[in-house]
């Protein structure tokens, strides 16, 4: 990739909680030195279980939260160095679709107002016909433009959320579990819509999900995260897992085919708390292949075409 659209380097985000007189302050590393690049027109998936830092990563890349350290380059410009005004103008080129279609729309805004907002925050008015055009792009009728969110179904709302992201014709959209709270039949519709939009508009996506099956279906490359760090990058959606955690994720995904029943060898234990990370590899405690080295030393992501952070890859 000669000239990626997004290049994040060594992103770190530390959150502080508590403090004050009644509770001791505790710090957690939500994102631990993540680097990644996304090429123009590419769809990169980030997959991991709850608390792995994937949503934080998405927000860091859009600079919705400030990184503790590290840089993000967008089309060659360092976002972390931009002034507030410049960043605001830059936001026309990037957008985000959120997980919860119910809370991502202001209940007091009509659809037309929701879709006009991207223009209004930039001090403009939407061009005539743009709202109808956006509704058309996400497969909704123009008649909906006077409706309020509570009058619509979850799928319709998520389409509005997508239309809002498209409003300023961005280059890059972060999709933060856009289908996690939808029914499966609707999830498939939305995924299909997103694929179509990408093809038509030449968009670049960062797709965040906990559903490895869905990510492998939808994305070109897959980044697997565990406890704030990248453990493996699948160069192709159908590449085999090399990290034991990726393998465990694959094992835990059931295909809708009784013929493919798995003898479950589910990994034991649960994700440790991000507040007190174990020394060494964060996955070691649950890993069937863990050695003493894994418990003492933290493996780095290998610099190969199939990067993996494991001392004993598959």
């Amino acid at each position: 990739m000669a000239d990626p659209l997004i290049r994040a380097e060594a992103l770190v985000k530390r959150f502080q909680t508590g403090g004050g007189l009644l509770a001791r302050p505790r710090a957690m590393l939500a994102v631990r030195g993540v680097s990644m690049a996304i090429g123009k027109g590419e769809v990169v998936g980030v997959v991991g279980e709850s608390g792995c830092g994937k949503s934080t990563l998405a927000r860091l890349i859009l600079r919705l939260i400030e990184p503790t350290s590290g840089t993000i380059h967008f089309d060659g410009q360092d976002l972390t160095k931009l002034s507030r005004g410049d960043m605001r103008r830059m936001r026309r080129r990037m957008a985000m679709v959120f997980q919860d279609p119910y809370s991502s729309l202001d209940p007091r805004f009509t659809v037309a107002e929701v879709l006009a907002e991207p223009f209004r925050v930039q001090g403009e008015e939407p061009p005539a016909g743009r709202i109808a055009e956006l509704l058309g792009q996400v497969g909704l009728s123009e008649r909906l433009s006077a409706s309020y969110p509570h009058q619509m179904s979850g799928g319709q709302r998520q389409r509005i959320g997508i239309a809002r992201a498209l409003a300023q014709a961005p280059d890059f959209i972060v999709l933060d579990e856009p289908t996690a709270s939808l029914d499966v039949s609707i999830q498939a519709q939305i995924i299909a819509l997103l694929s179509e939009l990408r093809r038509e508009l030449g968009l670049t996506y960062l797709f965040i999900s906990h559903d490895l099956g869905l990510v492998r279906y939808f994305c070109d490359r897959v980044v697997v995260m565990y406890l704030g760090a990248v453990v493996e990058v699948l160069p192709k959606a159908d590449a085999p897992a090399r990290h034991p955690y990726t393998a465990a994720l694959m094992d835990s995904t059931f295909a809708p085919d009784p013929g493919q029943r798995k003898t479950l060898r589910a990994i034991e234990g649960e994700i440790p708390s991000a507040f007190d990370l174990p020394k060494g590899c964060a996955f070691a405690a649950r890993c069937p292949r863990a050695s003493d080295r894994c418990r003492a030393e933290n493996p780095e992501l290998s610099a190969t075409d199939h990067p993996v952070a494991c001392f004993h890859p598959l």
């Binding site: 605001r88 026309r92 202001d106 907002e117």
Partner: protein
């Protein structure tokens, strides 16, 4: 919330039996207060001493007070004072509380901490005490009463607005607006305030009922409206000494307060249901 939406909600509230009855009473009181000069042949301040302590009769439906003034007339004029004092002071209180609460809730930090401490302190003290202290500082009379009521309830609205803002601040649509590049002022004015408005306004309406009682209590202590201006509280204040001799002097203004406050509460309940505040919040 749009004006049309508000009117619709009020309309919905009025169509429930609770809302209809309480709304009718409130309308009666407000109209009575406005048209008092037309509605009664008597003056509220002209004394007719030989006619003092007249029991309710055809000429004086609610009787007369210790100065021979028609009690119904004074209850109607008293509604002017009681209602305008409570509505005005609560409006000031709601407005100030919203500004303070919104700023504290949105910006957080030291300002938030200062506001929270102030609010917690005043919130822990009974309103009547705060009001009494303030009236001692400002001096008795209508102005003192209004300032006292406004400050006494300030904590409530600041707290509520702050809580609302804090809750809404974590809604995804706020993050969505940020992701579009919205400034703080845009988010505050377009999203946070409009969405926290309805519960605060309803709370303000309910507090108006409490303010009527507080005004009456200050009046009872002789610190409210000064004679001969009637207010429900000051009427009861002079009536309390005559409880045995002419109970109607205290009974009727007391009933006016009680029924009006009940009506405000019932109407508030109906409005809460009509606005569907809780469920809408849950939905959002």
């Amino acid at each position: 919330m749009s004006l049309k939406g508000t009117l619709n909600s009020i309309g919905r509230a009025l169509r429930t039996p609770k809302g209809a009855i309480s709304g009718a009473w409130l309308a009666l009181v407000v109209l009575g207060a406005i048209f008092a000069p037309v509605l009664t042949p008597y003056d509220y301040d002209i004394q007719d001493l030989p006619n003092a302590f007249a029991a309710p009769s055809f000429a004086h439906w609610l009787g007369t007070d210790e100065f021979g003034r028609d009690l119904l007339t004074r209850v109607l004029y008293g509604a002017r004072t009681s209602l305008s004092v409570s509505v005005l002071s609560i409006s000031v209180s709601v407005f100030t509380g919203m500004v303070l609460g919104a700023a504290a809730g949105y910006f957080g930090g030291a300002f938030d901490r200062a506001v929270t401490i102030f609010v917690d302190l005043t919130w822990s003290f009974p309103e009547i005490l705060i009001a009494l202290i303030l009236v001692a500082i400002i001096g008795p009379g209508i102005t003192g009463t209004m300032v006292a009521i406004a400050v006494a309830y300030l904590a409530q609205f600041t707290r509520l607005t702050r809580a609302q803002i804090m809750a809404i601040r974590s809604e995804t649509y706020i993050e969505a607006a940020k992701s579009l590049g919205a400034r703080d002022s845009f988010i505050l004015l377009r999203h946070l305030l409009p969405n926290s408005l309805a519960p605060v306004l309803v709370a303000g309406m309910l507090a108006t009922g409490d303010a009527i009682i507080l005004e009456a209590t200050l009046g009872f202590f002789g610190l409210g409206a000064q004679p001969p201006t009637p207010s429900w509280g000051s009427m009861m204040s002079s009536g309390s000494a005559l409880l045995f001799k002419a109970p109607w002097i205290i009974v009727f203004p007391g009933l006016a307060v009680a029924i009006t406050v009940v009506a405000i509460n019932l109407f508030g309940d109906a409005l809460i249901r009509a606005l569907d505040i809780k469920t809408r919040l849950r939905e959002a």
